[in-house]
Amino acid sequence: MAATSKDLSKDKLIWMYTQMLRIREFEERVKRTFVEHPGVIRGHAHLGDGAEASIVGALATRNETDLVMPSYRCHGYPLVLGTPARALMAEIYQRKDGICKGFGGSMHLADPAHHFPTASGIIGQGIAHAAGAAYAAQVKKTGQIVYSFFGDGSSKQGAFHETLNLAAVWKLPVVFILENNQYQAYTHISLEDANAIAGEPLSQKAKAYSIPGVTVDGTDVRKVYDEVGKAAERARAGQGPTLIESQFYRLSPHGNAITVPPVPTQFQEHESIEVYGRKDEFAAAKKNDGIVKFRELLIGNGTLTEADAKRIEEGVRNEMEDVVKFALASPLPKGEDALNYVWA
C-alpha cells in the first residue's frame, strides 16, 4: 500500500509548505520583474501560481531518482526538485549563470542533474518524452518512475492519445498528471473539451486506454499526495500508468502579454475577467488558495505555530530577494556563445 498523507512526518509537512511558498514567491518575483526591470525577461513566461498544492503534493511522493517532465509552464517543479532558484531565475533573466546558460529561457528549463530532463514548448510533445524516460527506466531496470505533467488543453493533442495508449500497452512506469486549471491560454475548458461540456471529469479519458483515471482536488496538497502516491505505487509495481486529473485554478493570466518589440510586455488581468468578465469565478479561485488552506490546516493541527509560519514565509521572501539580486547581477552570455551545444 502507498503511504498516505496521514503518515506524513512533521518535517515533511513543513517541507511541503515551504516548497509551496517558494513556488508562489518565485512566480511573484518573476511577475514583478516585468514591472521593476522591463526587458529583463523576453519572450513568453508562464507562471505556476495556483498549482503549488498540486505540484508539491505530487512531487512529495517521489523517490530520490524519479524523473519529472513538466510542460512549458515549468518554473515550479525544479524548485521542488532542488535546482538552485538562483540558476532558474538567472535563466529566465537570460543570464550566463542560468540553468541553461541563457539558451532556453522560461519555457525550456532543464536540470537533468536534479531529475528534470527537459521541457518542450510545443503542446503535448513532452508527454511522449516522459513516456520515453519511463521506457528507459523499464529497459534499464533502474526502478525509477516518471511524473508527466501537462495541461487540460494539452490533453486534446494527438500526442496525449498516442502516448497514453502506448504507455498502457507497454505498462510503462509513468504517472500522467493532467493539470486541469480550467484554461488553455485564453480559452475556457467549456469551449474545447467534450468531457467538460458533458459535465464529466477529464479523468474519464483514461477509459480509452483501460487504465485507472482519477480526479482530485488539486488545491488540497494532501489529497494530491494520496492519489499520486497510489499511482506512483502502481507504476513502481510494474502495473503501468495512471491518469490523474488534478483540478485547480491558474491564478495569473496565461503569460505576459504578447507584444512586438519595442512595445513593453507585462502581465495583465486574468482571462476570466479580461476575456470573459467573470469576476466571481476569479474571486472564488483566489479564496480557494491551496497555500492558504494548507497554512490553516498546519496551524490548526499544531504542526506549525503562527510564528513558525511567519518565520518560514520570511525565509522564503529573503531567499527570493537574494535570487533576484543574483540573477540581475549575473552577466549576459556573449553573442558567440550561441555557437555552442548545437552538436553533441
Binding site: 525577461i41 523576453r42 519572450g43 513568453h44 535563466e91 537570460q94 543570464r95 542560468g98 541553461c100 541563457g102 539558451f103 532556453g104 529561457g105 519555457m107 525550456h108 518542450s120 514548448g121 510545443i122 503542446i123 503535448g124 510533445q125 488543453g153 494539452s154 486534446k156 493533442q157 494527438g158 500526442a159 488553455q184 491560454a185 485564453y186 480559452t187 475556457h188 469551449l191 474545447e192 473539451d193 512586438v260 518589440p261 512595445v263 476575456v275 470573459y276 549576459l332 552570455p333 556573449k334 553573442g335 558567440e336 556563445d337 550561441a338 555557437l339 548545437v342
Partner: protein, 326 residues
C-alpha cells in the same frame, strides 16, 4: 487614396471583406472567437467563426475536408511551428488530394501562421519553416513584407482554389504602411522591386525586406545603389524578376532569417546558378541565420540572426569580388 494601416490590421480587413463577399469563407483557430463580443463572431456568427482546441491535425484536416465540400476555410495558427505537429496535412494532404483524384476535387484553404518572432521566444517558437513547404507541387506560400502586400496576398489567398500557407512575420505586426483603396489584390508569383538600384540585387523576404531596405539606405550614403527584390510568394516563385534584376546589377545578395540550408535564399541561389549564371559578375552571397537553433538570450539571438550590418558587409564583399575567371 491609400490608407495607413498596421500590418495585422491589413490582414484582418482582408479577411473581413472576403468573408463579406463570399459566405463560404470560414475562419477558425485556437484562442480566437472566445466570446460573442469577438468582432468576427459579431459580424459572421458562430458557424463561420469558431474557436478550436489545441488540435492542429484536426483543425487542418477539417479545413481540408470542408474545402472539398465547398467552404473556403482560413485556419489561424498563430505560430507556424504549430503546423509541424500536423505537417502531413500541410504537405501531403492539402496539396496532393486534387492531383491524386485526377482533378476531381479542389482544396481552397488558407493556413495562416505567424513566424520568426525574434524576441526571446527561443528554440521552438522562433523558426522559419517555409523551406519545408517549398517545392511541394500544389501548395502556395505567401510571405508578405508590407501592409499592402499583406492585405493583397491575403485576399488572393482566400480566393485561390489551391491550398495556401500564409506567413505573417510577427516582427511586422504593428508596422504601418499605405494600403491602396478598394479590393486591393496582389497576385501570387509576382515579385516586387521594393527599391530600385543598379550595383547589386538584394533578394529578401518578410522582415528581412525591412532590414535590407535599411541596409540599402546605409549603402546609398556610401554611393552604392542596391536594388531590393521581394519575391512576396515563395510558391510560385517569380524567378524571372530576380534574374532580370541580376541581369542589370550582375551581383546578388540573398537575405533570409533561416539557417542557410533551410532557407529560401539557398533555393533562389540555386535557381540563379542555373538560369542566371551568365549575368553574374561575382559569386552570390547569402546572409542567413547561423547554423544554430535560436537561443533565448538577447546577445546570442542577435549574434545568430541577420542584421543590417551583415547585409551591408555582404554587399560590399560581392562588390569587391572579382568576376569568375573563365
Amino acid at each position: 487614396m491609400p490608407r495607413e494601416m498596421m500590418f495585422a490590421e491589413a490582414i484582418a480587413v482582408a479577411i473581413t471583406e472576403e468573408m463579406q463577399r463570399d459566405p463560404n469563407v470560414v475562419f477558425y483557430g485556437q484562442n480566437m472567437a472566445m466570446t460573442d463580443r469577438d468582432p468576427f463572431v459579431r459580424k459572421f456568427g458562430k458557424d463561420r467563426v469558431r474557436i478550436t482546441p489545441i488540435s492542429e491535425t484536426a483543425e487542418l484536416g477539417i479545413a481540408i475536408g470542408a474545402a472539398m465540400s465547398g467552404l473556403r476555410p482560413i485556419v489561424e495558427l498563430y505560430m507556424a511551428e504549430f503546423m509541424l505537429v500536423a505537417f502531413d496535412e500541410v504537405v501531403n494532404e492539402a496539396p496532393r488530394l486534387r492531383y491524386m483524384s485526377g482533378g476531381q476535387v479542389k482544396v481552397p484553404v488558407v493556413f495562416k501562421a505567424g513566424f520568426g518572432f525574434a524576441a526571446g521566444w527561443a528554440g521552438q517558437h522562433s523558426n522559419c519553416t517555409y523551406h519545408a513547404m517549398m517545392g511541394i507541387p500544389g501548395l502556395k506560400i505567401a510571405l508578405p513584407s508590407t501592409s499592402a502586400d499583406a492585405m493583397g496576398l491575403m485576399r488572393a489567398a482566400i480566393r485561390d482554389d489551391n491550398p495556401v500557407v500564409y506567413f505573417h512575420h510577427y516582427m511586422l505586426t504593428i508596422d504601418k504602411g499605405p494600403v491602396p483603396d478598394g479590393e486591393h489584390l496582389v497576385p501570387f508569383g509576382v515579385a516586387d522591386v521594393k527599391r530600385a538600384g543598379t550595383d547589386v540585387t538584394i533578394v529578401a523576404t518578410a522582415w528581412m525586406v525591412k532590414k535590407s531596405l535599411a541596409a540599402a539606405e546605409i549603402l546609398a550614403k556610401e554611393g552604392i545603389s542596391a536594388e531590393v527584390v521581394d519575391p512576396r510568394t515563395l510558391s510560385p516563385l517569380d524567378t524571372k524578376t530576380i534574374i532580370d534584376s541580376v541581369k542589370k546589377t550582375g551581383r546578388l545578395v540573398l537575405v533570409d532569417q533561416a539557417p542557410k540550408h533551410a532557407s529560401a535564399a539557398v533555393v533562389i541561389a540555386g535557381e540563379v546558378a542555373e538560369q542566371g549564371f551568365k549575368y553574374l559578375k561575382a559569386p552570390v552571397k547569402m546572409v542567413t541565420a547561423l547554423d544554430t537553433s535560436v537561443p533565448y538570450s538577447e546577445p546570442m539571438e542577435s549574434f545568430v540572426l541577420p542584421s543590417e550590418q551583415k547585409i551591408v558587409d555582404a554587399v560590399k564583399s560581392v562588390l569587391a569580388a572579382q568576376a569568375a575567371a573563365v
